[in-house]
Symmetry: none
């Protein structure tokens, strides 16, 4: 990988912070830090963990949600989507 940051945000990097965070989260999910249907850290948590503004973190989340990597449950949290589940919903169950 030439540009994808690893686990820290680099403001001088050509890739925007929110995309860097996207790469980081994607990598952490792939690495197994968080499993499908399991919550990732809260927005506030990610903010302090990576020293980013909440706006930025939310932008990243939206990015991954659009990619089908994450899904958000209002008033609950953000979860890891199941692999190959582009437009899945938690469904009721």
């Amino acid at each position: 990988m030439e540009f994808g940051p690893d686990d820290q945000i680099d403001y001088e990097h050509p890739v925007t912070p929110y995309r860097q965070l996207g790469d980081i989260l994607r990598a952490r999910i792939e690495r197994g830090d968080w499993s499908p249907n399991r919550p990732i850290p809260s927005e506030a948590r990610l903010v302090q963990e990576y020293g980013l503004a909440r706006t930025t973190v939310r932008r990243t989340i939206k990015l991954l949600v659009d990619e089908g990597v994450l899904f958000v449950v209002p008033q609950r949290g953000t979860y890891v989507a199941e692999p190959g589940a582009e437009g899945e919903s938690p469904g009721k169950a």
Copy 2:
């Protein structure tokens, strides 16, 4: 089943605990654990059985009452409604 919990509460599950309990109770009723016009365990019982706060248990009960699955008799208990009886009364006795 993709999301519906079975018989234990999972706090990291995308579905809120009170809804999970709703799924559980609905299943137990359908399974025949408790019959129509028979009381389900008291709120206190459910609290210790599932490790939830009473607030949460009550939220679940309200959910099922609204669905017509259960009906509450103040100071007496919570009962299983008869199938297809949306607004029935126990008819005292």
